[in-house]
Point group: C2
Chain length 355, copies 2
């Protein structure tokens, strides 16, 4: 099984190193190939997603991704900025289904901004469509306005769009995920305003007929942003488009108070996928050895489960993470009085040992 | 001073009645003219925003608005649904600047989902552009896709767009609001992905040169959704587009735990405005006399301040609301052990008496 390992920028290399350490103790026939991505790739090869990196990712069975981005690239033209690498990988690999669990670990409930009773046991799965919507819609650009409030002035524009088959395939992914969990699916849109959302809602309703056991409800995105704060535990599986999913999955992750713990998977139609922590590259703490590697380690577990058909190995990693938490080991981001503060490497070692 | 009073649907009539009661005790030369809007207007006149209502609103110095919407209109074609009234009023009156304060009252801090220390003293002002963006951008509709992932299939599309002068005018509103408060402005966009956001960010940065005393920072919308949960008190004035503002202003309102207390103003370029509570029509509790009228009463105060140049009268209302809270009077939505539960009418009476 071939894995493309793309550490990227900031804390990327530190957290990926620990995830790889954990994979190595599992003694599976894994072939790891490393490549530059993001700002690092721009520095070394003049592009955030060099062709060699994209080809490596295409040839692999799965991609293990760290994080990209650093303030020092802020002034670059958009096409050269680190985050273009992640957009390019999603598009290039056809990774249309993004799984973003928002899970509150019992030991870490206190880390949430929310009152403990509102988040204890929280377990939401946000499924975000990842290759369509206003992220990739053409046309887009700048032009002179011919109508609107100020005809004749400069304007910028983007196109939100979804085709029926794009919505259908993410709907199937979401209903199937709901079948494996609480059989409850919330589809989030803005159908009271947007044409794209109305089609989204119509197609979700149609596909629902094939999954009669699942309870489907529709929620407007503004209301979803409120319900996440008010009563997050009422949500189970949430499916939404690329733009709304970007916002809601981050809001949901932050509710748990421990975004350093949250993995993510981005899958294509054959369950080949890219796996990365939900948090970013954190350039402010890069190189200090204090980043939390658990989100990346848990992403590696998702990879074993979803793309490499190794559910047992995945379960071993997950159990090992549970056990280091139970031992009271904490990186700085999740540390609290009475627990033991450990470095990135010590945390990785502890998980490897627990396996 | 002419005020168009549009109670709308659900609890609209109950809450507007109390706001009008409060306005009446102020003994100002106000001329109130009532009209149907929303589902009520559709039932009575076949359209959610009848021309007579729009004309009344145009002729008035300000509009006091209750709320619109009810499940029973869900099956109507979009153009006849109640929420089209509010979109039509915004467009028809040129109400491009939406002020959405998210304020946490000391007496109600416990009502928040967040830990008290994170929200005590919270005072954010979200300024949302209200007549542009993907809400009104043309073209939009359904068609057969000619490119994208599934050429030949049905697709729906919308256009996000902002022109330079549209961004400039909301930037001035936001910088001026920041000058009157903490001189700190956060502009929210998604410039790492969207052309529209890049222009938004560029123009905000340009206009900033005219307000050198204000500290401006830019934040991506996904990060803003996280920061609102993580550390809301770090935000002061936030300015953003119509779509992102819809989501973030509701998220921020819900953080306070007492959305029944939060007013809003939507202003045109001459400070003529529409004033409405931040909450909705709540059809589930309509007619029960238990809705919280304070958001609407405080909206009337905003109206006196922003559109009718009556800051003293506005301050009297605000002081009266403070005083009823201090007296321990609470409608059901904000009630807690040890306080006195009152009805919609009793709350309105108490505010009127306190004045
Ligand atoms: C970096 C950025 C382009 C990206 C997105 O908006 O999708 C990120 O926020 C994410 O959610 O993975
Ligand atoms: C009813 C709806 C069209 C409206 C909006 O999206 O603007 C509402 O959510 C609001 O925020 O006032």
């Amino acid at each position: 099984m071939k894995i493309a390992v793309l550490p990227g920028d900031g804390i990327g290399i530190e957290i990926i190193t620990e995830a790889v350490k954990v994979l190595n103790v599992l003694d599976l026939p894994l072939e790891l190939e490393w490549a530059d991505v993001g700002g690092k790739a721009y520095d070394n090869h003049g592009h955030p997603l060099p062709e060699a990196t994209l080809n490596l990712a295409k040839a692999a069975d799965a991609v293990l991704f760290g994080a990209v981005g650093d303030w020092k690239y802020d002034k670059l033209e958009r096409q050269f900025r680190p985050e273009q690498a992640i957009l390019g990988l999603r598009k290039g690999l056809g990774l249309f289904a993004n799984f973003r669990p928002a899970l509150c670990y019992p030991e870490l409930t206190h880390a949430s901004s929310l009152k403990p009773e509102l988040v204890a046991g929280l377990d939401i799965l946000i499924i975000r469509e990842l290759t369509g919507d206003i992220y990739f819609g053409q046309p887009r650009g700048r032009r002179t306005a011919v109508d609107g409030h100020f005809p004749g002035s400069e304007e910028a524009f983007d196109t939100m769009r979804y085709s029926r088959p794009e919505i259908e395939r993410i709907a199937h992914v979401a209903f199937q995920a709901a079948m494996k969990r609480g059989k409850k699916l919330t589809s989030v849109d803005k159908a009271n305003v947007l044409e794209t959302s109305q089609l989204w809602k119509d197609v979700m309703t149609e596909i629902h007929a094939q999954y009669p056991e699942v309870a489907l409800d529709h929620m407007y995105v503004d209301n979803a942003a409120m319900q996440l704060v008010k009563a997050p535990k009422k949500l189970d599986v949430v499916v939404t488009g690329n733009m709304f999913g970007d916002i809601l999955s981050d809001e949901a992750a932050m509710l748990t108070g421990s975004i350093g713990m949250l993995p993510s998977a981005s899958l294509d139609k054959n369950n080949k996928g890219l796996y990365e922590p939900s948090h970013g590259s954190a350039p402010d703490i890069a190189g200090k050895g204090i980043a939390n590697p658990l989100a990346t380690i848990l992403s590696a577990a998702m990879m074993l489960k979803f793309s490499l058909q190794q559910p047992d190995a995945a379960a071993r990693i997950e159990a090992a993470v549970q056990s280091v938490l139970a031992q009271g080991l904490r990186t700085a981001d999740i540390w609290s009085e009475g627990t033991t503060k450990v470095s990135t490497r010590e945390m990785g070692d502890a998980v490897a040992t627990a396996i």
